[in-house]
Symmetry: C2
Subunit: 323 residues, 2 copies
């Protein structure tokens, strides 16, 4: 469905602001809450939080993250799921969300209804109330930015920092070909999996893969060799990921390059303490998530210890914004 219409009567301009906001409330339905806990006051009021919280924001932009070929409901769901993937990557659960919509007056009401209904269905599925938002006008634009508040589910939030020399690198699911296969719309954010990792002390670091493993993995790679504390003033050895090209689980039809460089995988990558009993860890995973592959794809090593057949990551690049 094309998001823009030339017939004023079919456009958001025909409703005007007040009736548009009333319509949005209707479309969100039970995915929102009555004011002041939902839409309709200066701020949404949210319950106290006993545990540490998480906050993240991600947009969808017409011409960038979706086009006229994507059903509007899928765009709404994707907006939420992209953010949930970030919450999952810390081992958290979502608690509330607010949406900032920017649109041209020519945006089609039918498109917008589909978008909000898709967002609402997804919000109900993942139990994230949409508690507020803003609607603003901008010529030629159609974009929505969602902010999700979350809570840690374990004793800790799992960050990107914490991996060490020798740690094992594991990923969930398969990589590559997300756009071609429709995975970028149909994916399930790894919330349960992320929460499971957060409860396992042997998981030292975690992130989600959204711009391609070849780019994202550098954020998980230890910056210095932390196993040499006795020589703190010597130049620390650099550490690199040694990835086994045969181990990398690829989506059907995806080449090695696709698996490394394509964006929008929305899988989790974790660093596992090198001293972990990996067989026991993998058995526990299979009991918890029998349907979801978990694969050891390599480990963090010193450059001189790179096996000759390891992937030369510098030959690959992930998705570069503003390229």
């Amino acid at each position: 469905m094309h998001p823009f219409t030339k017939r004023r009567s079919d456009s958001v301009a025909a409703l005007g602001e007040q009736r548009l906001i009333a319509a949005i409330r209707g479309w969100l339905g039970t995915a929102s809450l009555p004011a002041p806990f939902g839409i309709g006051d200066d701020c949404a009021v949210i319950a106290p939080a006993r545990d540490r919280q998480l906050l993240t924001v991600d947009p969808v932009i017409y011409g960038r993250h979706f086009d006229a070929t994507v059903p509007p409901a899928a765009v709404g769901a994707k907006l939420l799921k992209r953010n949930l993937s970030d919450i999952a990557a810390m081992g958290g659960r979502p608690t509330a969300a607010v949406i900032a919509l920017t649109l041209d007056p020519c945006v089609s009401l039918a498109w917008l209804e589909g978008f909000y209904r898709g967002l609402a269905a997804c919000a109900r599925r993942y139990r994230v109330p949409i508690v507020g938002g803003d609607v603003a006008e901008a010529r030629g634009a159609l974009a929505a930015s969602l902010t999700v508040l979350g809570a840690v589910t374990a004793l800790r939030a799992v960050t990107r920092a914490g991996a060490r020399l020798g740690d094992w690198i594991y990923i969930t699911g398969k990589l590559g070909g997300s756009l071609r296969s429709g995975h970028h719309l149909t994916f399930r954010p790894r919330l349960a999996e992320g929460a499971w990792f957060a409860r396992r002390p042997e998981v030292r670091a975690m992130m989600d893969i959204s711009d391609g493993l070849a780019k994202d993995l550098w954020s998980l790679t230890p910056k210095v060799g932390r196993l040499v504390p006795k020589t703190p003033r010597s130049t620390p050895p650099t550490i690199v990921p040694a990835l086994n090209p045969k181990a990398l689980p690829r989506r059907r039809g995806a080449s090695l390059r696709d698996a490394l460089c394509d964006g929008e995988d929305y899988e989790l990558v974790v660093a596992l303490d090198r001293k972990t009993n990996r067989a026991a860890f993998e058995r526990a995973w299979r009991r918890a998530f029998p349907q979801v592959p978990l694969t050891c794809i390599g480990r963090f090593v010193r450059p001189r210890d790179l096996p000759p057949d390891a992937i030369r990551l510098s030959d690959y690049h992930g998705y570069e914004h503003l390229g």
Copy 2:
């Protein structure tokens, strides 16, 4: 300063994503925090919250909320202050913010630096850490959406609901001519004032005035006559604001129409319990905020009790988005 440049070397495209994010961290400086409490992980990690929280989102959009005549630092400050005005309107204090930036690759680096430095200076002034964000590309766009998390400062969040028949209507400051006078850039969000109102039980409802009093006041107006509980099934009498045109404090050069219809006042309007000792209330205000006018501009009445000289609010309209 014009936000767009034709010279690639002066544009954000010259930096690319990674170096741009590093630059943004530098510009934000101490207004941000190291990951995971600030920029640099999948989510920002935020302290637990003992009290109820507030969540709000508002954007600034090029061509809508600012143009090339506004200094970029003022745009950054305005983005934060608009949101702080919403936090103030609930009687809250801000605790953290995340920013979603959408920009064309031709946006000038110098402009963006000014914007972020202005945002950072304002964030330090109001003690709101900028804990995360997102940067996305969109052709022809320059927009930023800020989400602010807050906490209630009193035992309650003051909502728009709660006003009753006979309640007095008070506003802070003066109204009208915000764009002409530069008030839309120089205003101080009424955080201290909002927190003060929240601690006064006689304040029954509160909101900020951002789209013009003539439009916004309807949100504070009681929907039914709550003073007639004995006849619950009879049609409840409508209630209207009776505003005294002579009492309305106007900014220098602002007409009555300007004071009612111009947007971006960012003042607070409250409903005060009709049984309040108003002289004592006003004295307490003057002790707390000797520099800030607080004016009784009218009260909520039944239509048949409207004084003949009351402002006919239906003759005026505030700022209509998507008009």
